[in-house]
């Protein structure tokens, strides 16, 4: 069958769904009230960790399973994925946190001090134990969004600024938190992050520093640039970092390596992640509109699986994918 869809929202959800539909021979148009991806959207500020095994520490089972589609999908559709695994560390007084993390996750190896030094020489001598997740990867979210956009444009898909869809098409609503006007169970979970330049430290892979109250991750962006994230606060507030959050993020980075104390702060990012009450994403069908939303802190990790399911549903309307939570409509 032929599929014609209008996608509302040019964030990670909208662009992955568009790419998946186009790859299967469908036709799409993308509309975003702010135009192409940029600082107005929450995916712009994402960490870009493709880390289903680590996320399983606190997320439910579908995140681990569906997240494993992410690395391959991004390699096929955007490129730019680094497969170098994830390193998980804790300061010596938080050693219990490392044990708990190890118990609740799979897909890891235990490293001792020489093992850590072999992977990340700049952390040599600073930590005695770590967990290494070799199957994980990371990407630079802005580059990945740009790559999707470029490939879509090459296939003749424009991102149009506006809000009015063509009524003759199926509407796929990927507006993130803005769709709260239609999805009352969607809420915002505030995240704050920093981008630092710190040429004195060289890291090759995402590093997570566990802490009972202030867990931190650092994702290398190349050329001595690092993304430092992220807070998680039950608040829909966007666009305002608090001094306390910045203090906590920077203190944690400083504890990981004191050279971060001399880093240059390049950017401060704040946005609210769209989340449903179970923090799992949903496909939700209402009439001719299909909502793809609730990616929470797993935008780049879970959007490939959600895009696949959305496309499965559009191309074969009898299929009801696992993450779909409302009954199919009369057509």
């Amino acid at each position: 069958m032929s599929v014609r869809a209008t996608i509302l929202g040019a964030g990670v959800a909208g662009l992955t769904v568009a790419s998946e539909i186009v790859a299967r021979g469908g036709r799409v148009e993308i509309i975003d009230r702010a135009g192409p991806p940029g600082p107005h959207g929450c995916s712009w500020w994402a960490g870009g960790m493709l880390a289903p095994w680590c996320e399983a520490e606190s997320a439910e089972e579908p995140v681990l399973r569906l997240g494993q589609e992410a690395i391959g999908w991004w390699e096929r559709h955007a490129g730019g994925v680094t497969r170098a695994g994830t390193l998980v560390l804790a300061l010596s007084r938080d050693g219990g946190e490392l044990e708990r993390f190890a118990r609740r996750t799979s897909g890891h190896e235990r490293l001792d001090a020489p093992g850590i030094a072999a992977l990340e020489p700049d952390l040599s001598g600073r930590f005695r134990r770590a967990l290494f997740y070799p199957g994980e990867g990371h990407l630079a979210p802005r580059a990945a969004l740009d790559a999707l956009r470029a490939r879509l444009e090459a296939a003749g898909v424009e991102i149009r600024r506006g809000t009015a869809p063509d009524p003759a098409t199926t509407l796929i609503d990927c507006r993130g938190l803005a769709a709260r006007d239609a999805l009352p169970d969607l809420r915002g979970v505030k995240g704050e992050m920093l981008v630092l330049r710190c040429p004195d430290v060289s890291l090759s892979r995402p590093v997570r520093l566990l802490h009972p109250r202030i867990p931190l991750y650092i994702v290398p962006r190349g050329d001595g640039v690092y993304m430092l994230g992220a807070t998680s606060i039950e608040s829909a507030e966007r666009g305002r970092i608090t001094a306390r959050s910045m203090l906590e993020l920077l203190s944690a980075a400083y504890a990981l390596h004191p050279a971060f104390g001399e880093a240059e702060i390049l950017e401060i990012g704040v946005d609210a992640r769209p989340a449903f009450p179970d923090n799992l994403p949903r496909l939700r069908r209402r009439g001719d509109t299909l909502f793809v939303n609730g990616l929470y802190r797993h935008g780049f990790l879970l959007s490939p699986a959600m895009a696949r399911m959305a496309a499965d549903h559009l191309f074969h309307t009898e299929t009801r994918p696992e993450m779909m939570d409302e009954d199919l409509p009369q057509r």
Partner: protein
């Protein structure tokens, strides 16, 4: 019977609402435990002007139907705590407030001096104050003089999961103020800790991390509820006094057993 500002609670377990993997799992934990009170923090969630940025989450908490005890977690001064209490009263329509004034950012020890001061102000304004304090007897006396009718001594530092780290101190506090309802707040890591607090005659237990950070929060919440119930039943049953030697239940005839 001791009540909490005239209210009797269905369950003597009070649960916090922070740090769960998701609001859905939090709601499961509350259902599984039948907790009588849900504490909620506002300070960090409220956001900028207006202070309503956290309301979606607060609505989920209110939707659970559990009695709400707003707290002033994250406040370090009297002024912050009083402002947060005002916001809480407006938001949740309750005069109840768990008053927490933190002295140290790393140890999270309560600043008992600021606590007494804030308790005086809030009580005068009609709040029903649940002060998070230490087991110190003099501080307890000052809090009662400030108008508090409930005390919430810690078991151990917040989030430590160490259990009741000063048993003689907590026994002395319980004995010193037999008429005052008291809740052990913070430091509970295991159901055995919660049961122990109840066996000592404390009226309720408040905990958060031990449930929220468990691998299965709902199962742990249920375990805590059972422990609280068991501990309370044991206290009500007037437990035996321990002794240093065996007490044979049949007399030892023909032996110089007292030798």
């Amino acid at each position: 019977m001791r009540t909490f500002y005239g209210e009797t609670l269905e369950s003597r377990l009070m649960l916090g609402t922070a740090q769960y993997p998701s609001p859905a799992i939090m709601a499961e934990a509350f259902r599984a435990s039948g907790a009588g009170v849900a504490t909620v923090s506002l300070r960090r969630e409220a956001g900028g002007p207006g202070g309503l940025a956290g309301q979606d989450f607060w609505a989920l908490v209110e939707g659970m139907g559990t009695r709400i005890l707003p707290n002033t977690a994250g406040c370090h001064t009297v002024k912050e705590a009083v402002t947060t209490a005002h916001m809480a009263r407006e938001m949740f329509g309750t005069p109840w407030v768990k008053l927490e004034v933190i002295g140290h950012t790393d140890t999270l020890q309560p600043d008992v001096f600021a606590l007494v001061e804030a308790a005086e102000i809030l009580t005068a304004e009609g709040f029903r104050v649940f002060p998070y304090t230490t087991e110190d007897l003099v501080v307890a006396e000052r809090l009662l003089a400030a108008g508090c009718e409930v005390l919430m001594p810690w078991g151990a530092p917040i989030g430590s999961g160490l259990g009741l780290s000063n048993l003689p101190g907590l026994r002395a506090l319980r004995a010193q103020f037999p008429e005052v309802p008291m809740v052990i707040d913070a430091g509970i890591g295991l159901p055995s800790h919660a049961a122990q607090a109840m066996e000592m005659g404390y009226d309720a237990v408040l905990l958060n991390t031990a449930v929220a950070k468990a691998g299965d929060p709902a199962a742990m919440a249920r375990a805590m509820a059972l422990a609280v119930e068991a501990g309370r039943a044991a206290f009500a049953a007037d437990p035996m006094e321990p002794r240093d030697m065996a007490a044979p239940s049949t007399p030892l005839i023909g032996r110089a057993f007292l030798a």
